[in-house]
């Protein structure tokens, strides 16, 4: 008898419930439910970083164009040149330096495949000698910014106009003034310059200015672009041409000045660095432009109120889709594939990139799946963790997101994004919320 009960009571190997039967589904969602919130306010504005570091970017950025939305963009490039040796002799045994004669001097620009705008148009550049060394006056700051400039000789050493083929990478040659070249040559020939210090003292550097009158585009050139000095040895009648090259050895001594003339555009009234221009005032659009420092700022003013939707709730996932405005991009002004995301305070001070749990930066990636109206094109940003943290953090301060284009310091791409009131290309925030 006891055995019988023992078996019953101890061998409770009841069958496993596979969970296929569910009753009263309406009631199931009462306890814990998942809600989609897509009505939270998203404030979109444009900010203006007035100083982007453009030195040390290893790109000579040249060109100018009239952007139909943003205004006139111009990029000039400043740099210091140097050489490994200032000796004209090709061998140590060569003692016939006196026989060298100057032939020519030219700037060779090597395209680096970067371009933006209409590069089928003729571009014009003009090269000038710097009157100031490429050196910052400030004590602790060796950087040059997109708005930095140095004095230069208004007399051009040489200029050219060309139709670029950035993909074919045809080099651009600019013949420089012979008088300048000969004087330069004589200094070397007479051994008046033997060190880089002496060289830089004499020849502080060059600025290449973009002087196209008509709208065209902006191109990038390699940092290995060089100044070539040709000279020859007059011993016999047969001339042997010798080449001396001067290059940008120190990339921190090269920077691009990128300026934007916004006169007459809808962003003509951009405020200072610490403020923002609401997209409500700019046709429900926000503007990002590399090189000139325009960035999109996104605020979530009501995020903390989500706490009160239910007694206890958490944001389990969130996605922000911010859309480029129709007819603001084209083959000439293509969309970039991704945007950088920074976290900023109320004064646009960045605390760093928006990172995933593993510490990797999160990007806003472009969904290119196009439909008839271009409504599906948008940059999506996974914001689950950010939103949960913003909702639950104790302090009153709210963080904002700042979107920039990855080439911010070395390009001129731009994008126009819609806000919540933009009819065709509305920014959309989807928050998945669970009450528990």
């Amino acid at each position: 008898m006891a055995l019988l009960f023992g078996i019953i009571l101890t061998s409770c190997d009841s069958d496993i419930d596979t969970g296929e039967f569910v009753v009263g589904s309406d009631n199931l969602s009462v306890n814990n439910r998942v809600i989609l919130i897509d009505t939270a306010t998203v404030e979109v504005s444009t900010i203006n970083f007035d100083s982007l570091v453009t030195s040390g970017q290893s790109r000579i950025l040249l060109g100018t164009y009239n952007d139909p939305i943003f205004g006139k963009v111009t990029s000039d490039s400043y740099f210091q040149l140097s050489s490994s040796s200032y000796n004209l002799q090709t061998t140590s045994s060569d003692t016939e330096g006196a026989n060298y004669v100057f032939d020519s001097i030219r700037m060779v620009l090597l395209p680096d495949k970067y371009y933006y705008g209409d590069t089928t148009q003729v571009q014009s550049i003009s090269i000038h000698r710097l009157l100031q060394k490429v050196k910052q006056n400030a004590e602790n700051d060796d950087n040059f910014y997109n708005n930095s400039s140095l004095d230069y000789d208004p007399v051009s050493l040489g200029s050219t106009s060309f139709t670029s083929k950035p993909i074919r990478q045809d080099s651009v040659f600019v013949k420089l003034d012979d008088a300048f070249g000969d004087a330069f040559f004589q200094k070397l020939k007479k051994r008046e310059i033997v060190t880089t210090e002496e060289f830089v003292e004499y020849f502080k550097g060059l600025v290449i200015r973009s002087t196209s009158a008509n709208s065209s585009g902006v191109m990038g050139y390699q940092i290995s672009s060089m100044l070539q000095l040709y000279y020859s040895k007059k011993v016999t009648d047969s001339k042997t041409s010798i080449l001396k090259e001067f290059t940008i050895d120190d990339v921190s001594k090269q920077f691009n000045r990128v300026s934007l003339d916004r006169t007459g555009t809808i962003i003509k009234d951009l405020p200072g660095t610490t403020e923002r221009l609401s997209s409500d005032l700019t046709e429900n659009k926000s503007f990002i432009q590399s090189g000139t420092g325009l960035a999109c700022r996104i605020d979530f003013p009501n995020i903390k109120e989500l706490k009160y939707i239910t007694q206890k709730g958490a944001i389990i996932d969130a996605q922000l889709i911010i859309r480029p405005v129709n007819n603001t991009y084209s083959k000439t002004y293509p969309l970039v594939d991704s945007l950088n995301i920074y976290v900023a305070d109320q004064l646009n001070r960045l605390s760093g990139t928006l990172n995933s749990a593993s510490g990797n930066a999160i990007y806003a990636t472009l969904n290119k799946a196009s439909d008839e109206f271009g409504e599906n094109i948008g940059y999506s940003i996974p914001l689950g963790t950010f939103m949960q943290n913003e909702m639950t953090k104790q302090s009153d301060s709210r963080s904002a997101l700042i979107l920039t284009i990855p080439t911010i310091s070395k390009g001129v791409e731009r994008v126009v994004l819609g806000n919540q009131k933009n009819t065709g290309n509305k920014v959309q925030l989807k928050i998945y919320y669970i009450s528990y």
């Binding site: 009571l9 009753v23 809600i35 989609l36 963790t385 669970i434």
Partner: protein
């Protein structure tokens, strides 16, 4: 006799250890405190659980504490039981069977004086055993869905001490104090297209309720009984951990970890039960009970589901040869019964009803009142309709009702 005591102690130990296990599984047990558990003693399961008017003379009648007033002198009663249930679950499109073996109860009772008796019993009150896999639910305010996986285990136990006192020869009154306690564990997974949220909840319940019973012998063959159960508040607290994982961000986030909090208390309603028992020709016994539980007035929180007043109708019949007991067969009691329960849970505007028929035998052990009750019942619960399922169950109950003589207890003293 010593062996028997050893067996009894062994059974008690085993019984207690089985309490921790999930008792039954039913999709309906996701609501409230789980499915309420019918664990009746002795031959009651065979008689449709009818017996408000039955005395506690040959077995412990758990339906009415007043029955202890009619205990036989010098008898010590012990009852332990278990069930084996095969249930088939059926909805509009599927059918599935599962077997389940469960502990039912352990109890003992003894007379205190010639006019009074005391019983102590431990049995399940409710059991939550449910599982939901890959169930799609709409995300509120969207066209999207999420997937729910839930596993629930646990239930409440009922420990009660009952006392019955006989006033004169015909009337007995009883009082029972029940302590309800237990935990229900609930592990849920919520899957959206891009996130997984785990909510692990352990809810602990405890509360007490009092029952008052009465039995009146109208004549030597006719008894009426009544039992009133007080409303009660079952205090509820929970310990919960919530973690989420976001696939896009590859981020795990602990929302809360082992957080203790109060949850909505659960309320048991006022219940009453009336019943009668009539003996015919000294060998046929008819019991009829009616019970009503006023769940509608409990105003349960939404999380427990939607409740209606519950009614139960029970009918039981037993036969035992009264004299000329020549063979073992002559001493067997045969029983049968019907049980209809309107249920108290309403889902999708439909009551979850339960109906069962039962038959059983009480097989005597040695020359005492000790018997092994074997009963079989077939029942149906719920219905097939959208969002509901029907459970058809075959249940075999084994209740061992042991009868010891009073001096056995004295040995302990």
């Amino acid at each position: 006799m010593k062996n028997k005591i050893t067996i009894i102690l062994f059974l008690i130990l085993v019984s207690f250890s089985s309490f921790s296990q999930s008792l039954s599984s039913s999709p309906y047990s996701i609501y409230g405190l789980g499915s309420l558990y019918e664990s009746d003693f002795g031959s009651l399961p065979a008689m449709g659980s009818a017996g408000i008017a039955l005395p506690s003379n040959r077995f412990i009648n758990n339906l009415n504490p007043a029955s202890l007033g009619f205990m036989y002198q010098n008898h010590f009663l012990f009852d332990v039981g278990g069930n084996a249930i095969q249930t088939s679950y059926q909805d509009v499109s599927r059918k599935e069977s599962r077997n389940n073996v469960q502990f039912s109860h352990v109890a003992f009772a003894f007379p205190v004086t010639s006019k009074s008796g005391l019983s102590v019993a431990l049995r399940p009150y409710s059991s939550a055993g449910f599982k939901i896999s890959d169930y799609k639910l709409p995300i509120q305010d969207s066209n999207e869905e999420y997937t729910l996986n839930v596993t629930g285990t646990g239930g409440l136990n009922n420990f009660d001490i009952s006392y019955g006192y006989r006033v004169g020869k015909k009337l007995a009154l009883g009082l029972s104090t029940s302590i309800l306690f237990g935990t229900i564990k609930d592990a849920s997974e919520y899957l959206t297209s891009n996130s997984l949220t785990n909510i692990d909840k352990e809810s602990t319940y405890n509360g007490a309720r009092i029952s008052l019973g009465g039995q009146f012998k109208v004549d030597s063959t006719f008894t009426i009984g009544v039992n009133l159960k007080s409303p009660a508040k079952i205090n509820a607290t929970k310990v919960q951990s919530v973690t989420t994982y976001n696939a896009d961000l590859n981020a795990s986030n602990t929302i809360e970890s082992e957080v203790h909090s109060d949850i909505d208390d659960y309320y048991l309603p006022f219940e009453f039960a009336v019943g009668l028992n009539k003996q015919f020709k000294n060998n046929l016994s008819l019991s009829m009970d009616y019970e009503k539980a006023f769940w509608q007035g409990t105003d349960q929180a939404d999380i427990y589901g939607n409740y209606l007043n519950q009614e139960k109708f029970k009918l039981g019949l037993s036969y035992r040869k009264d004299h000329n007991l020549r063979t073992y067969f002559d001493r067997i009691q045969f029983s049968t019964g019907l049980n209809y329960d309107t249920g108290y849970l309403e889902l999708g505007n439909k009551r979850i009803e339960n109906k069962a028929i039962s038959i059983g035998v009480a097989l005597p052990i040695e020359n005492t009142y000790s018997v092994l009750n074997v009963s079989y019942s077939y029942g149906q619960r719920g219905r097939i309709s959208s969002g509901l399922i029907k459970e058809n169950y075959h249940k075999i109950s084994l209740n061992l009702s042991l009868d010891g003589i009073w001096f056995v207890k004295r040995k302990f003293e």
